[in-house]
Symmetry: C2
Subunit: 193 residues, 2 copies
């Protein structure tokens, strides 16, 4: 069954070991911030630093795994027809809207959406780390400078993860202007046994 | 006054707004993992993701600032005669020793040293994020692949930070083989008013 995340919103749900999660960009050009917490102890959380260290790359795609702050495996990317994702930048928030979009209305962003969706699982806002930003296009040049460009996705593009442990997943349809090329669109997802 | 961090050890200390912290590589070729927490509420902590976002680079040097998970300023780099630092990889730990150095004795690493030094300030091991790895040489190639090379420092090289708030600092002399080119050396630091 396909679940729909409305534009500029977010959700959270359990994903059990062995299940797969397919995240779909139904219209193209949208980003989805994903977080993962261990269901048995939500103080264990996905970590960009541990993942970069063990996977030996900052560009994650099919075959790469996402690791926790305690060096345990959480998710494996089992299919990816995009190959462009970001794991450097934090979810957009009220503060990032004030910083980057001074002339636009402030929005609570993916950060606020994730904090609300994760609260029922006992996860505090301060425990939200860098998210795995699905479809987000953040090139790094030779000098280390980062840019946020529109996602290269076309309608129906997707990525598929297998859960390697019992998890709580946070997932958004991104709220920031730059990451989505100025448009706000939904994200679809499917959980498969 | 010059303080000495012995090889493969770590320490923690307060640093007040306006003070500067000079971190020195006395022999050359050594790395120092640095963490910063807000003294008023240690749940606020330095964040690589927020820093990359606001500074728009992953290569931080003179003039760049380190930001917290709540989007507040913590430290500014005011002098840097090296220019090579890493903010991608997590502190070495028992798990990273088991992963990368299967034929070598397990060490608790910078992670264990930081956890012990920070515990008296009410900071839990799970609250240790990606550290700012001073002098650590982690090139990223065009495909995103990361490598850990020996630091390019010569004896006496240093970096100087100004505290932009009242902080608790964690600081190590790194314990891993790759980051220090296989040698273990001390780190020196000085706090200046």
């Amino acid at each position: 069954m396909t679940e729909i995340i409305a534009p500029r919103s977010g959700t959270a749900f359990p994903l059990s070991r062995g299940e797969t999660l397919r995240v779909i960009d139904p219209e193209g050009g949208q980003v989805s911030d994903m977080l993962a917490f261990m269901r048995g102890d939500v103080r264990e959380v996905v970590s960009n630093g541990r993942t970069f260290d063990y996977e030996e790359t900052i560009r994650l795609t099919t075959g790469n795994r996402l690791w926790s702050n305690r060096s345990n495996l959480m998710l494996e990317i089992v299919e990816d027809n995009v190959g462009t994702h970001d794991f450097l930048l934090t979810p957009c928030s009220e503060a990032t809207f004030r910083h980057f979009y001074k002339d636009k209305p402030v929005h609570r962003g993916c950060f606020g959406n994730l904090a609300e969706a994760l609260a029922p699982y006992g996860i505090a806002a301060d425990d939200i780390p860098v998210a795995f930003n699905i479809f987000m296009h953040v090139p790094v040049d030779d000098a280390g400078k980062v840019k946020v460009l529109p996602p290269p996705t076309t309608p129906g593009d997707f990525i598929r993860f297998r859960a390697l442990d019992d998890l709580i997943i946070g997932l958004t349809a991104c709220s920031a202007y730059d990451s989505c090329g100025g448009t706000f669109k939904p994200i679809h997802y499917e959980i498969e046994p």
